[in-house]
């Protein structure tokens, strides 16, 4: 609707160019790093020395990767699709749990005036500030407290990874969703109640569709958090995910780095795809989503 509107025209053409150039300069290390990784994955030698003669094009790294080989020689093979599946289980599980809990607590914090609400919000912020690695040991003990034996943690390892990782993401998701719920006027909810809908129905038919972008964002962030996680997966998961698999192959004696570069590029794909698809969404969130 406001396609014709623009920013106030204060900036001159020159400053605009200057800004673009600055942004480009600052992103050079980032772009360079990723390009070298991707190039290496198609090369016989790593090209990270910035020596063009190192680049010998080949697809062998990728073929080896999909065959599940960890080295050029020797017979160690893994089922790479199994590892991808493991990663997906963790990522989708975290995504689902974060979305479910985050949207519900976000609604509660936005709509209900319970005592201690402000403190609760501050506490969530604080929780978000803690790095996840600090809490691994604590979480492990927490699990042991509620479980009869260490064996149980092993048995339900996926469950534990997902719960632990999701709980780290939920504070941020709650804040994000609160911002979205805050934007819905009470009157819309009242109107639906007056129209005869039950609370649950109002939630499902009126509220949820209105915060769709928020839900999508939380799902996305949850997915990426699960996809990227390494500490919790290493601690709790018996099986390997892409992250732990790559990590274990970097330091191994037999490691063949161009192959790891292929794995790394593959590992980056969802992140790149999501951010390309969701650029608009992310902008909306940074503009409106998170606010007190």
């Amino acid at each position: 609707m406001s396609a014709g509107l623009r920013d106030i025209e204060l900036r001159s053409r020159k400053t605009e160019i200057l800004i673009v150039v600055t942004v480009l300069v600052f992103s050079i290390p980032l772009i360079l790093g990723y390009s070298l990784l991707i190039l290496s994955s198609f090369s016989k030698e790593m090209v990270t020395n910035l020596n063009p003669r190192d680049f010998i094009p080949t697809l062998r790294n990728w073929i080896l990767f999909f065959e599940g080989r960890t080295a050029v020689f020797g017979g160690i093979r893994v089922n790479i699709w199994h590892i991808v599946l493991n990663t997906l289980i963790v990522a989708l599980g975290v995504s689902f749990l974060v979305t479910l809990v985050g949207s519900m607590t976000g609604y509660a914090v936005s709509r209900l005036r319970f005592s201690g609400r402000k403190k609760f919000m501050a506490l969530l912020m604080l929780l978000h500030a803690f790095p996840g690695s600090v809490m691994v040991v604590g979480i492990y003990f927490l699990y042991l407290m509620f479980l009869p034996s260490y064996q149980m943690v092993r048995l339900y390892s996926f469950f534990f990874v997902i719960v632990a990782r999701a709980s780290l993401e939920i504070p941020m998701a709650t804040w994000l969703m609160k911002g979205f719920f805050d934007m819905i006027p009470w009157e819309v909810e009242w109107a639906a109640l007056v129209d005869g809908a039950s609370r649950l129905r109002v939630w499902r038919k009126i509220i949820l569709p209105m915060v769709k972008p928020g839900v999508a964002a939380v799902m996305l962030f949850g997915f990426l958090a699960g996809w990227m996680d390494i500490i919790y997966v290493r601690t709790f998961l018996v099986d390997q995910t892409l992250a732990t698999w790559i990590e274990s192959n970097i330091n191994a004696e037999y490691s063949y780095l161009p192959l790891v570069a292929a794995a790394g590029t593959f590992y980056l794909l969802p992140t790149i795809i999501f951010f390309l698809l969701a650029q608009r969404l992310i902008f909306t969130i940074s503009a409106t989503g998170v606010k007190g």
Binding site: M1, R113, P185, E187, V188, W190, A191, A192, L193, V194, D195, G196, A197, S198, R201, I206, P209, M210, K212
Partner: protein, 372 residues
């Protein structure tokens, strides 16, 4: 259909803020009742109490003989139109209007029939496939009304539905809404802060201020016989003039002294003044009931003043006059030529004067009636 009764309804919010206090109100079957008051007066609170969105702290609400005090909104069969219309942004107009019927689980063909009927009545049948954000303010408002009416409610509640429209549109919708209400014969309660809207549309007006109902009456009654200084000052554009006066008696006749000048006390007030022994009063008179003459012939009906400013309003002129340091307004025909600081004679129509007690700010009639 339905008579809405509020009995001693009080609403105190959890924060301790008193929304409304001891409200008694009966809205008759098919009646168009306006709740009129400034913002924060408790008029919307009253409406939400009737809707069931708020629950009264004490008191009871009846629809006919049915006690609905503790019923949730969905069991009251009401239609509610909000100030911001509260349309469902993710639904097309058709689905917005159909929403209450879908909740009732009506068969789809019946829903279709009713939605089309209502849309036709409000002349929005061409917009059914659009989303709310594709509509103008006036169209959105029609959709909101359609959604409220489609379920054939017993009571229609409107919370300042016109205040988000531009002035031109507001006036044209006013008449339309009034006609629609009469045609459908739905008991209607209309919240507004716009006195012109209330006067134009309502069968009766309840004036609310500070969480209390101050006066209930027909537009005529509320306008000509305001119960308090507040009501007189809130209704009318420009509102009623107020000026302090003193009662004196000479040769068995009662006079009011305004700005050092005597005028007759209105005849119908004489017994009230005598019985109450009033000395000091506030004299209220409406600008349109005030004549301006270039010169006073001393007949004890007019007071001398000075022109402070003249505001040409097109149809008539508003003269702001300085009356012993107080500014009062009078509406005069365009033919009268006046210059600033000119001496003039102000003649309020005596039978239309309203006298108030300066302490309680209630009209002397109301106080006299309270005593009995």
């Amino acid at each position: 259909m339905v008579v809405v009764r509020l009995m001693n309804v009080t609403k105190v919010f959890r924060t301790g803020v008193v929304g409304v206090k001891d409200i008694n109100l009966t809205v008759n079957h098919k009646e168009f009742m306006a709740l009129l008051g400034p913002s924060g007066s408790g008029k919307s609170t009253t409406l939400y109490l009737i809707a069931g969105i708020y629950r009264p702290s004490s008191g009871k609400i009846f629809f006919d003989d049915r006690d609905v005090t503790n019923l949730p909104p969905k069991d009251r069969n009401i239609g509610l139109v909000f100030q911001n219309w509260a349309l469902y942004p993710h639904m097309r107009v058709y689905d917005n209007i159909a929403f209450p019927l879908r909740i009732k689980k009506l068969p789809e063909n019946e829903i279709r029939k009713k939605v089309l009927e209502t849309a036709k009545m409000l002349r929005i049948e061409k917009l059914l496939n659009r989303y709310p954000w594709q509509l103008s303010g006036g169209q959105q408002q029609r959709v909101a009304i359609a959604r409220a009416l489609v379920k054939e409610p017993d009571v229609l509640l409107l919370d300042e539905p016109l205040s988000n429209l531009d002035a031109q549109l507001r006036i044209s919708v006013r008449a339309e809404l009034k006609r629609l209400q009469k045609k459908l014969g739905i008991t209607t309660i209309y919240v507004t802060h716009d006195q012109a809207e209330a006067l134009a549309m309502a069968d009766r007006i309840a004036v609310i201020n500070n969480g209390r109902i101050i006066q209930i009456g027909t537009p005529e009654q509320v306008y000509t016989k305001p119960a308090t200084v507040f009501v007189g000052g809130f209704l009318g554009n420009p509102p009623m003039n107020f000026i302090e006066g003193e009662i004196v008696e000479e040769k068995g006749k009662l006079y009011i002294v305004i700005a050092g000048q005597k005028i007759f006390a209105p005849a119908h007030y004489e017994p009230i003044i005598r019985r109450g022994g009033w000395r000091k009063v506030v004299v209220g008179f409406r600008p349109e009931d005030t004549m301006i003459l270039p010169e006073c012939r001393d007949r004890n009906e007019c007071v001398k003043g000075r022109v402070y400013a003249v505001e040409p309003m097109g149809r008539e002129y508003i003269v702001v006059a300085d009356l012993g340091g107080e500014l009062v307004k009078a509406i005069v025909p365009r033919t009268l030529v006046l210059t600033d600081d000119q001496e003039i004679c102000l003649c309020p129509s005596l039978e239309k004067i309203v006298l108030f007690d300066p302490k309680t700010e209630k009209s002397l009639e109301v106080l006299a009636a309270e005593k009995e």
